[in-house]
Assembly symmetry: C2
Homo-oligomer: 245 residues x 2
C-alpha cells in the first residue's frame, strides 16, 4: 500500500476503530463520493433495506466496489464478510463524518435570475441547509421576500452572517461582483462557499470554495455532441466504404 | 512519456498541426478546463487584450501554467516564446474544439422548482445554448409558457426532440423519474445530458452524462465546516495549553 509520495507503509489492521477519523486525511474525492453514498443509503433506509453489500451499494452509487470499500475504510467502516454493511449504522457514520449531524445556516448573495431560483429551491432546506439570509445590491430587490426570507443589502453581510452563525455562503452574483462578495463572507467568518458566478475566487487558507459553473457544464456537453457527430460521420463513411466523405 | 497502461512512446514533435485534433484523445479533465480557459479568454477579448502569456492565462483560470500548456498542446496550440498566445486565435481554436461553432438546441425536462428556475435562467441562451423545448408530466404545468417556450407533455419528447434537433437534454425531475426521462431523450437521439436529479443514470455507450448535484455540493461544504471547526477547536486547546478541552 502506498501513500502520497510513494512511501510504503505496513498494512493497517482490517478493523479500525470508528470515531477516530481524522478529517484531514480523507481525500477530497472521497468526501464527494461519501455524499453520493449517503444519498443512496438514505433511499435504502427509506425502503427498509437493513444490510447492503459493497457491490450493490457501489452499483447504486455509480462507482466500482473496490473504490467504495477504500472510501469507507477512510471513515473507519468495514463491512462484515458475507453480510455487508449495516445501512442504518453506515448512514450515521457518513452523516457524522460529513458534519451533517449539526445544522447549517446558508447565506445566499445575489438574488437575480439564478440566485432567485436557488433561494426558492426547496432542495437546500430539505437536506438541512436552511437559507438563513439573502443579500443583493439592487435597491429594487432589497426589502423583498423570497421563501419567507427578506433580501438585505450586501452591506449587511458582516453583521447578519455573524449574528445568524452562517456556515455556508452561496454566491450567485455576476462574475464582476463575486470576489468582493466572497471577501465579505470570509470576513464574516463563513468557512465554506458555493460559487455559481463564472469567476475564480481567491480565499485564504482554511476556506473551502466549491464551484458550479453551468456554462462550463454545457460546453463540456457541447464537446461531446461534436465528438458524437464526428463518430457518427466516421461510422457512416465506414459503412458506405468511403474513406473521404 | 507514458500513456494508459504504462507503455512508453517516442516523444511527439513539439509543433503539431492545428485542425487535426482527435477529440477522442483529449482527456475529460482537459475538456473541462478548456471551457474555463474559454471564459477567461472571452473576457480578455472583450477588454481588448491581444496576447496573453501562459502564466497570466493560467492564473486567471486558477490552474498552474504547466497544466495549461499541456492542455493547450492537446488542441494543437502552442504559444510563441516571449509573446504568448494570440487571444483571438486561441479563443477560436478552443471554441472549435468544444463544438461551440455550431448551435445547440436544449430540451429541459421537469419544470418544477429547480427546472423552472433553469428554464428562466438567461445564462444558457447567452452562451449559445437556447432552450428549444420544455417538458413536464404535471397537467397543471403542461401548456404554460416559460421564457416564451411552451411546456409540453413528456410523451412528446421523442417527436419534439427529433424535429427540433435537440443535442443537449437537461433533466431536472425528481430522482424517481430521471431514468425514464433519460431513456426517452436518448431514444430521441440526444447525445449529451446534464442531470440535476439526484440519481445515477444508465446510458448506452456514446451518450455523455454530466451531473450537477447541489445537495452533494452542500454536503461537501458541510464537511469542510466541520473540519474547520475541528481545527479551530484544536488551535484553541493548543493556545490555552490544554490537551483535552
Amino acid at each position: 500500500m502506498t501513500v502520497d509520495g510513494g512511501v510504503s507503509r505496513p498494512a493497517r489492521p482490517a478493523a479500525r476503530p470508528v470515531g477516530r477519523v481524522d478529517p484531514d486525511r480523507i481525500p477530497q474525492a472521497t468526501v464527494a463520493r461519501l455524499a453520493v453514498y449517503l444519498r443512496v443509503l438514505t433511499e435504502m433506509l427509506a425502503q427498509g433495506v437493513r444490510t447492503v453489500s459493497s457491490d450493490v451499494l457501489a452499483a447504486a452509487a455509480g462507482v466500482n466496489a473496490a473504490k467504495l470499500r477504500k472510501d469507507l475504510s477512510h471513515i473507519g467502516s468495514s463491512g462484515v464478510r458475507g453480510v455487508g454493511y449495516d445501512v442504518s449504522r453506515l448512514t450515521e457514520q457518513v452523516e457524522s463524518v460529513l458534519g451533517l449531524t449539526r445544522s447549517h445556516a446558508v447565506a445566499l448573495v445575489g438574488v437575480g435570475n439564478l440566485g432567485h431560483a436557488l433561494a426558492g429551491y426547496g432542495g437546500f432546506a430539505q437536506r438541512g441547509f436552511g437559507v438563513a439570509a439573502l443579500f443583493d445590491v439592487d435597491p429594487a430587490l432589497v426589502g423583498t421576500t423570497i421563501g419567507g426570507v427578506e433580501v438585505l443589502d450586501v452591506a449587511e453581510i458582516p453583521r447578519v452572517c455573524a449574528s445568524k452563525g452562517v456556515t455556508i455562503g452561496v454566491i450567485a452574483t455576476p462574475a464582476g461582483a463575486a470576489q468582493q462578495v466572497c471577501d465579505a463572507l470570509v470576513g464574516a467568518g463563513v468557512p465554506s462557499i458555493l460559487n455559481f458566478a463564472p469567476a475564480v475566487l481567491s480565499v485564504p487558507t482554511g476556506v473551502e470554495v466549491r464551484k458550479v459553473d453551468l456554462a462550463v457544464e454545457m460546453q463540456i456537453l457541447a464537446f461531446h455532441v461534436s465528438r458524437h457527430d464526428g463518430r457518427a460521420a466516421a461510422d457512416g463513411r465506414e459503412a458506405t466504404g468511403k474513406v473521404f466523405g
